[in-house]
Amino acid sequence: MMYGRRCEARMMLPRVMLLGLMALAAAFRGGLAAEAPSEDAVRAAYLYRFAGYVAWPDGAAADAPFVIDVMDSPAMARELRRILASHSINGRMTLVREVSRLQDVGNAQILYVAEGRAQLLRELRPQGRSALLLVTAEEGGLGDGSVINFLTVDSNVRFEVSLAAAERWGLKISADLLGVAVRVQGGHGQLG
């Protein structure tokens, strides 16, 4: 009985290996699989586009640079610099700064906080600061005080928006952006 089963397993193996080899051969014949962009590349493109749909209250001087602070995500900073090397935001020069502590967050327009770090935002208050568009990328990011939170759903990068947080920071967000969000928290009649 036992012998029979083992014997069958041994006979089966070559066919299984064959299947595996066929797949491998197929993979190599086709070369590397299609190169889709990374999550950070798409998030960076979103960040660049968001600036066109958000109104900051303190109309900064047109000659002051548009500053994006990136907390704890070198990959995101790299993607942003790549994009902003050839694009301006609202006609302004841009500056991407990497920070690792809240104390280092300066008078930026956007603060992007890397996955896993959103809790830090709980200690950030609007008082005495310029209006910051807080952007996170983790489940529960809005609960931590973020305005826009990225979610990856079925290989697509999507985002959710908290209008309460936007209001707290004095930001107005256009209905076009809200229309693309998977979820808008605190939505009644506040569309800017």
């Binding site: 089963r5 699989a33 190169e35 889709a36 990374s38 590349a41 798409v42 960076a44 896993g116 697509n156």
Partner: protein
């Protein structure tokens, strides 16, 4: 009977290879099929939302720093593996051992002591929660695997914690906790349907989700399946095929800082029983959860009701359990260093049992009330060192209040590496099966429940490291030493009369071992994920114990189990996934070690439609995962499936 069964298995095998070859064959020699971004910055927001991104394996940052052994099965893992049930999905976690005993029954365990069905010791030291609803049965603390179906497409992730999770999750989170978390309904808008079938099962699923007003979303789903019978030792049918239909909904309502979730599921299943009438399962649940998040606290209040009814062949035996549960949990920062989580809950079980003539519960019905209160403080000792101190007090109707303390220390050595250690205590509370049961031979009672049965206890020490040394490599390794006391034994009634026997608490001892896994992104398109768990058990009887059934009654466990998963993104929108799993030999009753292979080939025809072909248990036409006394032969199966998102 014999011959045709064998032949159909061979046919299935060749059919599988044929279809695989047909799918792989047309691959052209063209180089990459570039869907590469071009210029993302030129895209509108709604176009960006449709860009497919590479999902490079990565460790969830929050979990990366948790001071516990946690493996997360993602939505993607579930879809790409092609599994069709929750127990099969749990196999994807290397820190769990999942063995199948019949068409509808599985044994799920972590870190040993997975029970020994031939000694009536069932796997009862794990807790499974579906969206915060506990699904173990209060009758014996185990899991009825045929009652925990979830619409797999709607699962966001499954978090598998091995080790004691008692402080936050309570009793029976003794060797592990499994959290099945479904997606909020605002992430499942649109329609989904799938249809699949093969030699072993046929199924269909459907879901529709939509936004409601500005702040809400709802989805409804339904599915049905039939799973065919397994086989007996002589390769004849085990007559245990079963069918199930389930429907449910989830709705989420978001206000400024508040979320309200209401969800429910209802099912009915028919299970064939060899040479007998069918059994029936009926169940339903309704859950509401309110969450409030602000910069000071995260509050969660949850309530649910659950009804589960199981009727044996022809309704001659069975039981009904009603569960009513309320709980509250609040997390808040106290100063800048202390994050407090506190809460409590109360649960009422009411059950009624239709006793069989030789297996009785006396009394046949009870109301059981459980209560708990807990407090946990996560203290940031330095920027990189956290301490977690927790205490839960749990009151169960049989053993009263029990303290469940927990202390953990984690050190984030750098951004890529965390080391942690923990000491904790967990219990398995007594159940009616321990206290009320009477087993008879004819009219004579030969085994009697013990009203004084004490909780089974574990005191666990763990140490672990999680690291991502390079962008393409991550690993987790944890060593554990569990000291058990008051494990259940069978004792003679008194010195003068041997029977009836009764349950005692006269076994103790140690288990120690290692849970480990890694993930290696070999290339952009190929990921390999090995996992190994190794457990040694050293159990002894307390002085004066009968020694009946030996210490192996606590767990007929393999000394090790391991898996190797491969996940490939091939050109032409093909994906190929495979998992090879090895389970070591079982001691008594003995079962030789075995190796099995599951694979799935998927082809995304377009954004809407995907076809796939899956083979499960491919290496053997049939194999045992539990000894013949406790399980049936599990047969090879092949499934073709079409999935449609629209």
């Amino acid at each position: 009977m014999h011959f045709p069964a064998h032949r159909s298995a061979a046919t299935v095998r060749w059919l599988a290879l044929g279809i695989a070859a047909a799918l792989l064959g047309p691959l052209s020699c063209n180089a990459t099929d570039a869907t590469a971004d071009g210029d993302l910055t030129a895209m509108s927001l709604s176009d960006l939302a449709k860009v497919e991104v590479t999902s490079v394996s990565k460790t969830n940052e929050v979990l990366q720093r948790a001071a516990a052994t946690i493996y997360v099965i993602s939505h993607d893992d579930i879809v790409r593996s092609g599994v069709t049930s929750v127990p099969e999905a749990l196999r994807l976690a290397p820190n769990l051992l999942v063995t199948q005993s019949s068409a509808s029954a599985y044994v799920i365990s972590a870190r040993g002591l997975g029970g020994n069905p031939t000694a009536q010791n069932f796997s009862n030291k794990l807790l499974i929660l579906i969206d915060g609803r506990s699904v173990y049965t209060p009758l014996y603390s185990g899991i009825y695997a045929d009652t925990i179906d979830v619409m797999l497409e709607d699962i966001d992730r499954i978090e598998v914690i091995s080790g004691v999770g008692a402080t936050l999750w309570g009793a029976n989170a003794m060797n592990g906790v499994i959290n099945i978390i479904t997606r909020p309904s605002y992430l499942t808008k649109g329609s989904y349907a799938d249809l699949g079938g093969g030699n072993q099962q046929q199924f269909g699923d459907g879901r529709y989700g939509a936004g409601v007003g500005d702040d809400g979303a709802v989805r409804v789903y339904g599915f049905g399946f039939h799973r065919g019978a397994m086989e007996l030792a002589d390769a004849s049918g085990a007559g245990d095929g079963w069918s199930k239909g389930q429907a449910g909904f989830r709705s989420d309502w978001g206000l400024a800082q508040d979320t309200l979730t209401v969800q429910g599921d209802f099912y009915r299943a028919t299970e064939n029983v060899l040479n007998s009438l069918d059994g029936v399962l009926l169940g339903g649940n309704l859950l509401g959860r309110y969450e409030h998040h602000d910069s000071l606290s995260d509050l969660q209040v949850q309530a649910y009701i659950d009804q589960s009814e199981q009727l044996g062949p022809g309704g001659s035996s069975g039981f009904t359990v009603h569960t009513y549960d309320v709980s509250l949990q609040d997390a808040l920062m106290l100063g800048s260093r202390n994050r407090i989580v506190w809460g409590g809950g109360e649960r009422l079980y009411t059950y009624g049992i239709t006793n069989e003539t030789e297996l009785l519960f006396v009394p046949a019905s009870r109301d059981l009330t459980l209560a708990n209160a807990f407090l946990q403080d996560t203290i940031a000792l330095t920027g990189t060192v956290n301490a977690v101190l927790g205490m839960k007090a749990e009151d169960d109707p049989f053993s009263g209040w029990t303290p469940l303390p927990d202390a953990r220390l984690s050190w984030a050595i750098n951004d890529r590496m965390t080391t942690w250690a923990a000491a904790s205590r967990g219990i398995r509370s007594p159940t009616p099966f321990d206290t009320d049961v009477q087993e008879k031979v004819g009219t004579e009672v030969f085994l009697h429940g013990n009203p004084d049965f004490r909780p089974e206890e574990v005191r666990a020490l763990e140490i672990g490291t999680r690291a991502q040394p390079t962008d393409s490599l991550s690993f987790s390794i944890a060593g554990f030493h569990d000291h058990y006391d008051d494990l259940r034994t069978v004792e003679p009634n008194s010195a003068t009369s041997f029977v009836p026997l009764y349950w005692g608490n006269m076994m103790r001892g140690n288990t120690f071992g290692i849970d480990s896994w890694a993930s290696w992104q070999v290339t952009d398109w190929w990921r390999l994920s090995p996992g190994v768990t190794w457990v040694r058990e050293r159990l002894t009887f307390s002085p004066g114990a009968s020694g009946l059934l030996g210490t192996v009654q606590a767990g007929d466990d393999p000394g090790s189990h391991a898996s190797l998963s491969s996940s490939m993104n091939l050109p032409h929108h093909l994906t190929l996934d495979a998992m090879l799993r090895y389970v070591g030999a079982l001691p008594s009753p003995a079962l030789p070690h075995y190796t099995e292979l599951d694979t799935r080939l998927g082809w995304r025809m377009n954004r809407t439609v995907e076809f796939s072909l899956r083979g499960a248990n491919l290496l053997h036409a049939r194999h045992y995962e539990l000894p013949a006394a406790a399980g049936e032969e599990i047969t090879r199966s092949v499934i073709a499936e079409a999935r449609c998102n629209f």
